[in-house]
C-alpha cells in the first residue's frame, strides 16, 4: 500500500495497520467536530431567539398617556418572521387592528436606555437597573481588585509553601465554585443585618460587598496563576541586585503579572454583572423608578429587572426582557473584549 520502501533495519515484525489507525483518528475528529457544532448551534439559537424578540415587527396604535401621544404596541412578531413573511403579517394587522400601523419596532432604543421601568411596555426603560448594575460593579471592582491582588501576592510571594498554604489554596479554589445564592445569604447576614449601620441595609453598598465576596476567589485564583507565570529568573535577577522582596514584587513581578490579573478581574466582573440570586437574597428591589442617590440607596440590577419582565404575562414585556438581555450581553461582550485586548497587547515570551 505504502509508496515508500519498507525500512531495512527490521528485527521484529511490524503490522502498522496505518489505515485503521487513521480511521480511528478520523472518528475522534468528527466526534469533536460534532460537539463544537452543538455548542455553536446552541449559542446561535440563543442569539436568534433574543435578537428576534428584541427587534420586532409590530402593529402600533397611538394612545394618549399623560397628555402626550405615545405608541401603543398591540401585537409583535419576531424580526425573522417579519423578514420572511412580511405581506402575511401586514394583512393580519390590517384585518385585526384596522387602526394600527404595521412597522419595524426596536425595543432597544433611546427611550429604553433613558426611561425608568413603567407599566406601559413602550415607555418602559432600563435606566435604573443599568445605573444600579454599573454602580454595584464599579464598587465591586474597586474593592475586589486590590484585595484579591494583595491576597494573591501574599500567598505566592510571601506565604510559605507548607500544608497551611495548601489548605488555603484548596479552600479558595472551592469557594470559587460555591453557589452564588450562598454568598447572598452571607451578604444578607453580614452586610444587610450585621453591618446595616455602615451599608444602610438593602443598598448598593451591601450588594457590592456581597459581589466582592463572590468575585474574590476567582480573582485570587487568576492573580495567583499569573503571578506564578512570572519566571523565577526575574525574581532571582532582582534579588541578586540586593533588592528586597517587596521591591522585587512591586517592580518586576507585578508589572509582568498585571495583564493576567486585570483579565481575571474583568472576567470575574462579567460573572458578577450577570448574578441575580445573591442580590435578590440581600433584598435588591425589582421595581425602581428613580436613580440611586448614592452607594447607600436602594437599587436594582439588570438581571433582576429582566427576570421581573419575564414573569409578567403580557407578551410585550417579554420583548422588553429580550432588549434587556441584548444590553446586558453587549456590556458583557465589551468587558470580555477589553480583557482579550489587554491580553493580546501584553503577551510576552520570556
Amino acid at each position: 500500500m505504502s509508496s515508500l520502501p519498507t525500512p531495512k533495519n527490521r528485527e521484529a515484525i511490524f503490522t502498522d495497520r496505518l489505515s485503521a489507525r487513521k480511521r480511528r483518528g478520523m472518528i475522534f475528529r468528527n466526534v469533536c467536530l460534532a460537539m463544537t457544532i452543538f455548542g455553536v448551534l446552541s449559542l446561535g439559537a440563543l442569539l436568534y431567539d433574543t435578537i428576534g424578540s428584541a427587534f420586532t415587527w409590530a402593529a402600533v396604535e397611538e394612545r394618549e398617556v399623560r397628555g402626550r401621544v405615545q405608541p401603543n404596541v398591540v401585537q409583535t412578531w419576531s424580526l425573522w418572521e417579519g423578514i420572511y413573511n412580511r405581506d402575511e403579517l401586514q394583512r393580519l394587522t390590517a384585518e385585526n387592528y384596522p387602526e394600527a400601523e404595521f412597522r419595524f419596532f426596536s425595543w432597544v432604543n433611546i427611550n429604553f436606555l433613558t426611561n425608568f421601568p413603567s407599566r406601559f411596555p413602550e415607555l418602559s426603560g432600563f435606566r435604573s437597573p443599568l445605573i444600579g448594575s454599573l454602580m454595584v460593579i464599579g464598587i465591586t471592582a474597586l474593592l475586589s481588585f486590590p484585595i484579591g491582588t494583595g491576597a494573591a501576592i501574599f500567598l505566592e510571594e510571601y506565604g510559605t509553601k507548607g500544608w497551611i498554604s495548601r489548605i488555603i489554596e484548596t479552600n479558595i479554589a472551592n469557594l470559587a465554585g460555591v453557589p452564588s445564592i450562598i454568598y447572598g445569604l452571607l451578604g444578607l447576614t453580614i452586610f444587610v443585618r450585621g453591618a446595616g449601620g455602615l451599608t444602610g441595609g438593602q443598598t448598593v453598598l451591601a450588594g457590592a460587598f456581597t459581589m466582592t465576596l463572590l468575585s474574590l476567589p476567582i480573582i485570587i485564583v487568576a492573580a495567583r496563576e499569573s503571578i506564578r507565570a512570572v519566571p523565577p529568573s526575574q525574581r532571582q535577577a532582582a534579588l541578586a541586585l540586593g533588592a528586597t522582596r517587596w521591591e522585587t514584587t512591586y517592580s518586576h513581578v507585578l508589572p509582568s503579572a498585571l495583564p493576567g490579573i486585570l483579565t481575571g478581574t474583568i472576567l470575574a466582573m462579567s460573572r458578577a454583572i450577570g448574578e441575580t440570586a445573591p442580590l435578590i437574597t440581600i433584598g435588591a428591589l425589582t421595581y425602581v423608578a428613580f436613580d440611586p442617590s448614592g452607594a447607600r440607596d436602594i437599587f436594582t440590577v439588570m438581571p433582576i429587572q429582566i427576570f421581573n419582565w419575564v414573569t409578567l404575562p403580557q407578551a410585550t414585556f417579554h420583548n422588553l426582557a429580550s432588549a434587556g438581555i441584548v444590553v446586558l450581553l453587549s456590556i458583557l461582550l465589551t468587558m470580555n473584549g477589553i480583557a482579550i485586548v489587554i491580553r493580546r497587547k501584553t503577551e510576552r515570551t520570556w
Binding site: S233, Q234, A237, A238, A240, L241, G242, A243, H252
Partner: protein, 273 residues
C-alpha cells in the same frame, strides 16, 4: 576596547602579582535539599581580583556552592546550609546578616540571560536606584555598559527593551546590571553556556577586563574556558552517596598541567565526565 591584548597568553604575565588575601571563603560548607545531601564539607577560598573557576561533572554541586556565596539558596525553601561562608571574615550565614546586604556586595550573573522586560537603561539603573545611588545615573549607566563592553552597541537605543538584544548582548547587559551596583564579588553561573562561540569569547574577554575591579567566581562546564580564563580552579566530583565534594583546588595551571588527584586528571583529560 583593547580586548585582544587581554587574551589569556598575554594575561599570564599580568597576573604574576602576588595573590592577596582571600576575600571569601567557605568553611566546612554542606548543603542539604530536604533529606538529600547535595554538597559535603567544602573548604575553599576566593582571592581578590582573581577569577576562580568551579568545574566538575553534572550534579557535583558546583552551582549549589556558587549560590551559597550570596545566599541565593535561601530562595529554595527546602535548602539547608551548614558551615560558614566568610566574606571579609564575616560569616554571611551569621545571625545578624541580612541576605539583602549580602547580595548587594556579592552580585550574580545567571546561566540564561535574564534581563528585565524594561529598557536597556532601566535594566542597568534599577539596581543602583533601589540601593540609593546618589550620583549621576546617566554616567553610571554609561560606565557600566562600557565596562560590560556593550556601550557602543546600545548607546543609540537605550530606550529599547533589554529583550530586543541578542543572547550574547543580553548576557553582557546582565553583567552591566550586576556591576552597576559595584559589588565586590561577581558570581557567574555558566554565563556563556547558552551563547554562541563568538559571544562566549566576548564574555571571557570581559571577565579579564573586570578583574581589575572585581573578584569573579565562575561555574563552567567548558574546561577550555576554565583553563584559559581562570586563575584558580576548583574541581568538584560526586561521591558514592551522590553528594558533591571538592576534590582539588589550586592555581589553574597546576590543576590542569599537574593535577594532584587522579580523579582530576581523569576529568580534565576527558576520561570521565
Amino acid at each position: 576596547m583593547a580586548q585582544r591584548s587581554l587574551r589569556p597568553e598575554m594575561r599570564r604575565a599580568a597576573k604574576e602579582a602576588p595573590v592577596g588575601d582571600a576575600i571569601m571563603s567557605a568553611r566546612d560548607l554542606s548543603v542539604h535539599y530536604g533529606a538529600f545531601q547535595a554538597v559535603r564539607d567544602v573548604n575553599l577560598s576566593f582571592y581578590e581580583n582573581r577569577i576562580t573557576a568551579l568545574i566538575g561533572p553534572s550534579g557535583c554541586g558546583k552551582s549549589t556552592v556558587l549560590r551559597c556565596m550570596n545566599r541565593m539558596n535561601d530562595l529554595i525553601p527546602i535548602a539547608r546550609v551548614s558551615g560558614e561562608v566568610l566574606y571579609h571574615n564575616h560569616n554571611i550565614y551569621g545571625p545578624n546578616i541580612d541576605p539583602v546586604e549580602v547580595r548587594r556586595r556579592i552580585g550574580m550573573v545567571f546561566q540564561k540571560p535574564n534581563p528585565f522586560p524594561k529598557s536597556i537603561y532601566d535594566n542597568v539603573a534599577w539596581g543602583a536606584k533601589i540601593n540609593g545611588y546618589r550620583g549621576s545615573m546617566d554616567d553610571l549607566v554609561e560606565r557600566s555598559l562600557t565596562q560590560a563592553a556593550l556601550w557602543n552597541e546600545v548607546k543609540d537605543k537605550l530606550k529599547d527593551s533589554g529583550l530586543s538584544l541578542s543572547g550574547g548582548q543580553q548576557q553582557r547587559l546582565c553583567i552591566a546590571r550586576a556591576i552597576a551596583i559595584q559589588p565586590d564579588v561577581i558570581l557567574m553561573d555558566e554565563p556563556a553556556s547558552a551563547l554562541d562561540p563568538i559571544s562566549t569569547l566576548k564574555i571571557e574577554d570581559l571577565m579579564q577586563e573586570l578583574t581589575r575591579n572585581y573578584t569573579i567566581v565562575i561555574v563552567t562546564h567548558n574546561m577550555q574556558q576554565a583553563a584559559r580564563s581562570s586563575d584558580f580552579t576548583a574541581y568538584f566530583s560526586v561521591g558514592e552517596d551522590r553528594a558533591g565534594y571538592l576534590v582539588e583546588y589550586g592555581p589553574t595551571h597546576e590543576v590542569f598541567t599537574n593535577p594532584k588527584d587522579p580523579k582530576t586528571e581523569d576529568y580534565i583529560t576527558g576520561r570521565v565526565g
